[in-house]
């Protein structure tokens, strides 16, 4: 029961973070673009419940939920979205590039679709060479399974038995393109079979099912048997980016999505087990208050000083450059 409540809280916190970020974006408080994972919370909460503290992970442009599920600090995450100095990357990365090597073992969200596949496999290679106990989890979406990097790095990881788990959140859309219009397999994880890698396909709106599949995957990878691929079928409530009206989707997509809402389903399950509606409301109110604080922190934080523009570059060869 406590475990289910924790999953519920994580899902609610992810949605609260995303809804707060969306509101800030709409108000013009954020520059650039943000990509929200509203509708994918069940998959994210379930998957990260199976990941141990010593494990590593990579993320994507739609990666805020992974940070929350991993126990990251919503204040620093929100500040990064705002481009503030207090953000995870001092404002140099933004929404698509949150990383936290020190505390979360977060090897970075990435703006290049599929880039985390090779990086996660490389992290798993490092674990094999070092002989440590960490598994690396590469999180990515449906469309990146069509990148060459998927096939190149999975082949190597399988051949060398690397401690790697890939977690695919399949929301069926790459920007506007429905995955089956450009992909000839009903499921995506089945491609793992081509490399003799075991896989599972699960309902990503069922956090417990995702957790169980990921537990199996993590145990497999940790025991030296090589990689494992888990595909969670999810819905992307918003368009590709915040503000995308998603006119390319049939109306039935959202009807189906809302009928399968992971948070609603878990709430119902908890109430069936005797949790009171007020307790669930309290979790929601707590999450909303936490994200209010995160927005306040981000909004009030200072921007980087313009003089910081060349900090963290490898080579200080800008003495002769004048940017403007």
């Amino acid at each position: 029961m406590e475990f289910l409540t924790d999953l519920y809280r994580t899902m609610v916190r992810i949605r609260a973070f995303e809804e707060h970020a969306a509101e800030c974006f709409t108000k013009g408080m954020l520059a650039g673009n943000i990509h929200l994972s509203i509708g994918q919370e069940g998959a994210e909460a379930g998957a990260f419940a199976a990941i141990q503290p010593q494990d590593y992970f990579t993320s994507t442009h739609r990666g805020h939920g992974h940070v929350i599920a991993r126990g990251g600090d919503p204040k620093r995450a929100m500040a990064e979205l705002f481009g503030k100095r207090t953000g995870y990357c001092k404002g140099k990365g933004g929404s698509m590039h949150i990383a936290d090597m020190a505390k979360m073992n977060h090897l970075g969200a990435n703006g290049i679709v599929g880039a985390g596949q090779c990086i996660s496999a490389g992290s798993a290679l490092a674990s094999k060479i070092k002989g440590d106990d960490a598994v690396t989890v590469g999180c990515f979406g449906d469309s990146s399974t069509n990148e060459g990097s998927f096939h190149e790095s999975l082949n190597m990881a399988a051949t060398w038995h690397l401690p790697l788990v890939w977690f695919i959140e399949n929301n069926c859309y790459g920007v506007s393109t429905e995955i089956h219009r450009v992909t000839n397999t009903p499921d995506l994880a089945t491609r793992a079979a081509a490399y003799n890698v075991p896989y599972a396909v699960v309902d990503g709106t069922d956090a417990v099912a995702v957790y169980e599949a990921m537990q199996t995957a993590m145990e497999h990878a940790r025991s030296g048997k090589g990689p494992y691929v888990v595909e969670a079928k999810v819905y992307r409530y918003q368009g590709h980016y915040c503000g995308d009206p998603a006119v390319y989707r049939p109306a039935t997509y959202m009807e189906e999505a809302l009928a399968n809402d992971a948070i609603e389903k878990m709430g119902k399950k908890l109430m069936d087990l005797g949790v009171k509606a007020e307790e669930l409301e309290a979790i929601k109110a707590e999450a909303a208050a936490e994200m209010d604080e995160a927005v306040k922190f981000a909004d009030e934080s200072p921007y980087p000083d313009p003089s910081e523009v060349t900090d963290d570059m490898y080579t200080a060869d800008n003495e002769r450059c004048v940017a403007r």
Partner: protein, 327 residues
């Protein structure tokens, strides 16, 4: 300091071998690096000595293994990756240019990417348009990469050792036609610093700025010119990024005339970047326009007769120097 005579490829092998012994986090990864010991015999015997965890034969998956090297480097390993030819850098453009070069900055300095990428480059081996390029200009474009291009056995060994110890990604351009060249190097262990050019020959009339194999051609040209009473300085950059600007400034301020020699396609070349920088920064020192002596703006041809038209030879350098000096 006592010296020994050794080929450039053996010198690189020695450098890698010493670093493998010194640094347990270092590993070597690439096509045909382990069982075969590399197509240019750079890693012969390494597999037996260091084992399959540290000397890794990869499939022909350049994006895959380059990206994995980035991930391993983020975890504190020191990968030394080889691309069989620099032409294949297009196959791993994303992990090199978008990941290795950028992740330190984009993460706000949370990680460094201490990897080395070795890339055999250059014309003259009759390998046609997809195995003969000099892509320094493209690689130097991306902020975050350090780039070196040695011309001698001594520098090839000293720079590969410095590259392995550098906290940031270093791309090493090795000219294929230098591998078999035998030269003297010190017996004792040494490092060649990244970011320091080398005045190969002092002179007062004109500076030839160059790197890699063209340094040798520039030296030949300098001897021919000396016989005619023209005294040129040859500045071997050794490191392209970060470039040794102090050395360039000192030489140009002395000779007041410059040509830049490289094997690159002239359009969009690193030679062009250097020419622009010198013109912007040292205009008052110049007695003549900066001239580039580069390859043609064509695909590298196969036929020996045609390929020889496509990179600067000593006589081309001699002609360019005389043209610039009106002699």
């Amino acid at each position: 300091m006592s010296k020994k005579k050794i080929t450039v490829s053996k010198a690189i092998r020695e450098g890698l071998h010493e670093e493998m012994l010194r640094d347990e986090n270092m590993f070597i990864m690439g096509e045909d690096m382990a069982v075969m010991g590399n197509v240019f015999a750079i890693t012969t015997g390494f597999l037996d000595e260091f084992g399959p965890n540290r000397v890794i034969d990869t499939p022909i998956s350049e994006e895959g293994f380059m990206g994995m090297a980035v991930g391993a480097a983020m975890r504190g390993m020191h990968p030394c990756v080889e691309l069989m030819y620099d032409d294949f850098v297009t196959e791993c453009a994303d992990p090199l240019f978008n990941q290795a070069a950028k992740l330190k900055y984009m993460s706000g300095g949370q990680c460094s990417i201490p990897l080395v990428l070795r890339m055999p480059m250059g014309s003259g081996r009759r390998n046609a348009g997809q195995h003969s390029q000099s892509l320094e200009g493209m690689v130097c474009h991306f902020p975050g990469l350090k780039v070196v291009a040695p011309c001698s056995a001594e520098d090839a060994k000293g720079l590969i050792k410095s590259a392995m110890r550098d906290p940031d990604p270093v791309v090493v351009f090795e000219h294929k036609l230098l591998y078999a060249k035998k030269e003297e190097i010190p017996e004792e262990e040494y490092l060649t610093p990244i970011g320091k050019a080398n005045v190969k020959r002092e002179g007062k009339d004109l500076t030839i700025i160059t790197w890699s194999r063209e340094v040798n051609f520039a030296m030949e040209a300098a001897e021919k010119l000396a016989a005619e009473g023209i005294d040129v300085e040859v500045l071997d950059l050794r490191t392209l990024v970060p470039v040794d600007w102090d050395a360039i400034r000192a030489s140009v301020s002395k000779t007041h005339n410059v040509i830049i020699v490289s094997e690159e396609v002239k359009r969009g070349s690193y030679a062009g970047e250097l020419s622009a920088e010198i013109s912007e920064e040292l205009f008052d020192e110049l007695d003549s326009p900066v001239e580039r002596v580069c390859g043609l703006n064509i695909v590298s041809p196969f036929s020996p007769v045609l390929e020889d038209q496509n990179f600067p030879h000593p006589d081309d350098i001699v002609k360019a120097v005389k043209r610039v000096l009106n002699k």
